[in-house]
Symmetry: C2
Subunit: 134 residues, 2 copies
């Protein structure tokens, strides 16, 4: 009926299925745990983490377009996500001085704290779910 996969293709498919399984396990558990215990989604946490990393060098915050490529979200999804974080008081949005189209996103004290609180759980989930083989 259908042609069979070549060995290379079969390897790719196996690799892809493993990736899908790991991703689903991890993302699902992260979302559930972070959501229940810290009121954060996986992507929200990811964005906070980039902001923390960005803050360590210059403290001005990051531009939305600097964030975008690192979080695998569409520009619109990122915009709304930042909106949610802002409403929750975890980040601030400010106009860029040098380019007034741009938006500087910066962590608030509260945002920094929430990230720090959630981080251990995040690492714990990773060590749980990335270790398993299936």
């Amino acid at each position: 009926m259908a042609e069979l996969d070549s060995p290379e293709e079969a390897g790719l498919v196996a690799q892809w299925r493993d990736l899908l399984a790991r991703h689903a396990r991890t993302a699902c558990l992260l979302d559930r745990e972070l959501g229940e215990k810290h009121g954060l989604g996986m992507s929200e946490f990811e964005v906070l983490e980039r902001l923390v990393e960005g803050c360590e060098s210059g403290d001005k915050g990051l531009r939305v377009q600097e964030l975008a490529p690192t979080v695998h979200l569409s520009q619109s999804a990122l915009s709304r996500l930042i909106g949610r974080l802002e409403k929750a008081g975890l980040v601030t949005r400010a106009m860029c001085a040098d380019d007034r189209r741009g938006i500087q996103v910066a962590l608030t004290e509260e945002g920094c704290r929430r990230y720090a609180e959630a981080r251990a759980l995040h690492r714990e989930v990773l060590s749980l779910t990335l270790a398993e083989e299936p």
Copy 2:
């Protein structure tokens, strides 16, 4: 400010980010390509593929609950996905004879054909996106 990650934690995070990047790249491209050229989403294709694999042994189709664990979707999402496939004429839903709560999902001719048509592209995308390192 925030404590640093231990080396093991840093490794996990790096592994997780790599996984996220690969997943996003691959899933996004698969969805776009399969969608544009074959009218299928990534998950739709995945379900068709399981049905093809299931058909090769016994030709009765698979029960929804046999499909569920293999596609990383909630039961409700899978139910609706099957509904879409059915509406598109790619699968049929039939009551199980032995347990009338259960549903047998079986490929139609058309479903088999669409899967066969899409398969090469699927493999091609995998070989493109899973190979890159970043």
